[in-house]
């Protein structure tokens, strides 16, 4: 799930990014650093979505599992 979201975001972002003809050598590492800054943002978004998804799943799981799971264990799982 996370991988697909990441692909979609990267594709949209890449297509939106304006590319002009390069006219001068600047710094061979700038593209790499920009890529990493994007990676960091996507990682944060991905982690947020993942956390949200886990909570949604947790809600359904709680309903289906009823009161079988002790409160203490459920809290511990959410923290990890």
């Amino acid at each position: 799930m996370q991988s697909y979201l990441m692909v979609v975001q990267l594709l949209l972002w890449s297509l939106a990014w304006p590319v002009q003809e390069a006219y001068a050598y600047l710094d061979p590492g700038t593209g790499s650093l920009l890529l990493q800054s994007l990676f960091a943002i996507v990682a944060i978004i991905g982690a947020g979505i993942s956390l949200f998804w886990e909570r949604v799943r947790g809600l359904f799981h709680k309903r289906s599992a009823g009161d079988a799971t002790p409160e203490r264990n459920r809290d511990a799982r959410e923290e990890s």
Partner: protein
């Protein structure tokens, strides 16, 4: 105090913080105050000692700076390193070796980050192989990690590891000639230009090749905006490690794309020998190695390493094999890894060996300066050079015996089916290629201590010693 002067290693100039010296078979490194402070900070974490004891990093100890004479007096710290048995370069590694080195590099970085240490660079030249085991040789590449910093060497990692692997994996082109042509690896823009559209369907390929290249192009036109964007963000340690792990998963799955039917990959099972010939050859080689007991044996045309293994079983300490067939080399590397052999197979076209190259043509040493063994094996090789590459027979013999003072050379005459195949569609211009001529030329410069014909076609093994 040593009698000789330390000799600075010509390739050690890029990092101003340290310089490497050779002195009487030992490797030393002088450190400036900045590099020494970083080294001490790394050492205090305890990770360095762990990695040295686990053979991830070469043995390293601080020594009296006086060992380097005047050079040592100006150094803040002097380190002594173990010397690896044979120095090799990434353009001499097979696909399997380069992939192994790439994974090792990522694993090393991940381990270091757990201790709050990072790597200054991602150069493949900082890795060497001892047998099939990669080992890191540049301790001054290690320094304390600063929270939020980018992986400064991501592009270098891509150009020296990822792109050469993709070249072979996606396009079926071995990386060796490209890497030898450009010692910094395969540049980002060239890899992007080579990329077929279908390769971009893998989002990791898209990310590290296509997208990185587009961003680089954009940055070159929008310098200030790009710099501002870079400064505005950072990379958390978690994201840094996620990036390394993601690259690791990507590289782990890469496999070489071979053309159908490697020339020599199946040579060990599909050759023109009878079983008895092969056994006779093994006995001859085994007996020679028992007499010679070489510390370093060169196996020229090693194929998958059958006779390298025979040599190791009969007393050779370390074998470096050379071959030009990718599949054979990959198989040889996997064999060495699987069986924990003191055997290092390397890519080498012996008719066009690695030259002295790089800065001042001293940065990377040519094969001729490194390939000096105590003994050599050149089995089923001479006809490939003399007939396959038109090299005069006397020059072939001179080149071989110049690499080791003793060895075993096999001569395959024209009557043999292998040579018959080579001559089937071309004119035979090799009137001097005869057993008599070979024996006379070899005998002029060496003493032939043993000779045995091992096939009905006249294949003959010669054990020689330099006069």
């Amino acid at each position: 105090m040593h009698g000789k002067n330390p000799e600075r290693v010509p390739g050690s100039f890029r990092d101003p913080g340290s310089h490497v010296y050779l002195l009487e078979e030992s490797v030393y490194r002088s450190l400036t105050p900045t590099a020494a402070a970083a080294f001490e900070a790394v050492r205090r974490t305890g990770v360095l000692d762990s990695l040295i004891s686990e053979r991830w990093i070469v043995r390293t100890e601080t020594v009296d700076p006086g060992v380097l004479g005047e050079i040592g007096q100006s150094a803040t710290l002097v380190l002594q390193h173990e010397k690896v048995p044979f120095l090799s370069y990434p353009y001499e590694w097979s696909f399997a070796q380069l992939r192994s080195a790439a994974l090792f590099h990522l694993d090393l970085h991940l381990r270091l980050l757990e201790y709050g240490i990072t790597l200054n660079d991602s150069t493949a030249y900082n890795l060497q192989f001892v047998g099939a085991a990669p080992i890191f040789i540049d301790v001054t590449s290690l320094r304390p990690y600063q929270e939020g910093e980018y992986w400064q060497a991501h592009r270098q990692f891509c150009e020296q590891f990822l792109h050469p692997l993709l070249l072979h994996s996606v396009l079926g082109i071995p990386h060796n000639a490209w890497f030898r042509g450009n010692l910094d690896g395969l540049p980002l823009d060239q890899m992007a230009a080579l990329s077929p559209w279908w390769a971009c369907l893998d989002w990791r390929f898209f990310l590290h090749v296509v997208m990185q290249n587009r961003l680089q192009q954009w940055a070159e036109t929008k310098r200030d905006t790009a710099a501002a964007r870079v400064r505005r963000h950072g990379l958390s340690r978690t994201a840094f490690m996620a990036l390394l792990r993601q690259l690791r998963r990507f590289i782990k799955k890469l496999a070489p794309r071979h053309p159908k039917g490697s020339t020599w990959g199946e040579y060990a099972t599909h050759n023109t020998y009878e079983a008895g010939e092969s056994e006779a050859k093994r006995k001859f080689v085994g007996s020679f190695i028992q007499r010679a007991r070489p510390r370093l044996l060169l196996d020229l045309g090693c194929n998958t390493g059958d006779y390298s293994v025979v040599a190791l079983q009969h007393g050779a300490d370390y074998v470096v094999g050379f071959d030009a067939d990718q599949q054979a080399l990959n198989a040889a590397f996997h064999r060495s890894h699987r069986e924990h052999l003191a055997f290092l197979p390397l890519y080498q076209d012996l008719a066009n060996p690695s030259p002295d190259q790089g800065w001042k043509q001293l940065e990377r040493s040519g094969l001729g300066n490194r390939a000096r063994g105590q003994a050599l094996l050149a089995l089923a090789l001479v006809h490939h050079l003399a007939i396959g590459r038109n090299i005069p027979l006397d020059q072939v013999i001179n080149a071989l015996i110049g690499m080791a003072p003793r060895g075993v050379i096999e001569f395959v005459p024209k009557a043999d089916p292998t040579v018959q195949k080579m001559l089937a569609l071309r004119e035979d211009i090799f009137c001097d290629y005869t057993s008599d001529a070979f024996e006379r030329l070899l005998g002029q410069q060496t003493q032939i201590v043993e000779k045995q014909t091992i096939s009905a076609s006249g294949r003959t093994l010669y054990a020689y010693e330099l006069l």
